[in-house]
């Protein structure tokens, strides 16, 4: 149903978006009922950065004002709730991909008017910006916007509206990447 003309080659079926949304809401409620918190993603990538720093130079990492914050308790920096949750998200994505036959030989998905190289460069730059932004924003679309807004956190609603608003405001300038 939600297929774009260019993707018609591999007819791919998505679930109804409202059903997806309701189920996602229920998953968040289960998460909050059991663990007292909702979903997140970017914090786990931060943990992997901290873990790398800790491998390269444990003493420097412990002394660092940023890495040190996550190395205080003596645990491995990737041994916490969020990291298991993100590991699950990766496995869950793979499971859905297999089930709906969307797992393919690696390829670059891009708009009709953009070259492979440009798309990959844009993806890398977009990722760097997004990654940097997650630290200032106290989380990403999942941890700050989605989970924050759905627990009535002011910060979550703020990030949600500004994130989507900023994307919309600059969309015109990057239209060649997509349409």
């Amino acid at each position: 149903m939600e297929t774009l003309p260019k993707q018609k080659k591999n007819k791919t079926k998505y679930i109804n978006p409202y059903l997806g949304g309701v189920l996602m809401g229920i998953v968040m409620l289960i998460s909050i009922f059991i663990s007292g918190r909702e979903l997140g993603i970017s914090g786990a990538i931060r943990d992997s950065v901290v873990a790398t720093a800790n491998v390269i130079s444990p003493t420097a990492a412990k002394k660092s004002s940023y890495y040190g914050k996550f190395l205080k308790n003596g645990h491995h920096p990737m041994d916490n709730w969020l990291d298991y949750e993100v590991l699950g998200a990766i496995l869950g994505g793979l499971l859905s991909g297999i089930l709906f036959k969307r797992v393919r030989k690696p390829f670059v998905e891009r708009g009709p008017n953009v070259s492979r190289g440009r798309r990959l460069t844009a993806a890398l730059i977009g990722g760097i910006l997004f990654g940097f932004g997650t630290r200032l924003g106290r989380g990403c679309t999942s941890g700050a916007a989605l989970s924050g807004a759905s627990t009535f956190a002011f910060g979550g609603v703020l990030v949600m509206f500004i994130l989507f608003g900023a994307a919309f405001a600059v969309a015109y300038f990057f239209r060649k990447l997509w349409i």
Partner: protein
């Protein structure tokens, strides 16, 4: 009764195992809803595919209303759940940077990971970018620390900020979401018709 783990009703080991399963359900739903495609995500900002708006806002209002019910039934102590803290200047700046990153890259962190595992190389580049962006922040932290902690309002909710009850906020968001679903469906229909001429 709930939340179970903060009330010591389940052990830490169980909590981590459950985190894995909750993540699996989340990742599954992201991929199954079509978020493993950057073109589907970018579509919301060009009017040809509003799947992001539908899934995202439905999830938010289900969770909001569900939380109020769980609290009302006495199954969940709402004072024990995690509330995101608010730091005004840094979070506004971060959200703007993330928004620009999303339009340029076409993903957000969670969606990029589910796209990597089904074979999207563009998503892999985005995910590598995330790592580098966070590394950049971590290394620059001494210069950013002051800004990072400025404008702290605490773990504040909409109700604490405005005095308006959570039920009204949930109601307001539901009305906004329903209106957005309706309007975006009309826009999507129009844009898709026009895009055919351009051999999209």
């Amino acid at each position: 009764m709930g939340p179970l783990f903060p009330n010591n009703l389940i052990s830490g080991e169980w909590n981590l195992l459950i985190a894995l399963f909750i993540g699996m359900a989340f990742g599954f739903l992201l991929e199954a809803s079509g978020f493993s495609s950057a073109r589907n995500i970018a579509g919301a900002f060009y009017g040809y595919n509003f799947v992001v708006v539908r899934v995202f806002f439905t999830a938010v209002i289900v969770s909001m209303v569900g939380l109020l019910y769980l609290g009302y039934f006495g199954w969940l102590n709402l004072s024990q759940i995690f509330i995101l803290p608010t730091y005004l200047p840094s979070m506004i700046t971060g959200a703007v940077i993330m928004g620009v990153g999303m339009i340029i890259g076409g993903f957000c962190p969670g969606t990029s990971l589910t796209a990597v595992v089904i074979g999207k190389i563009d998503a892999l580049f985005f995910a590598i970018g995330l790592y580098l962006g966070i590394l950049l922040f971590a290394e620059g932290y001494p210069f950013l620390e002051k800004f990072y902690h400025a404008g702290y309002l605490g773990h504040i909710t909409l109700t604490e900020l405005t005095g308006i009850k959570a039920g009204w906020w949930a109601f307001g968001f539901t009305v906004i979401a329903l209106a957005a679903f309706w309007v975006t469906a009309i826009i999507e229909k129009k844009v898709r018709k026009r895009i055919k001429e351009y051999k999209f």
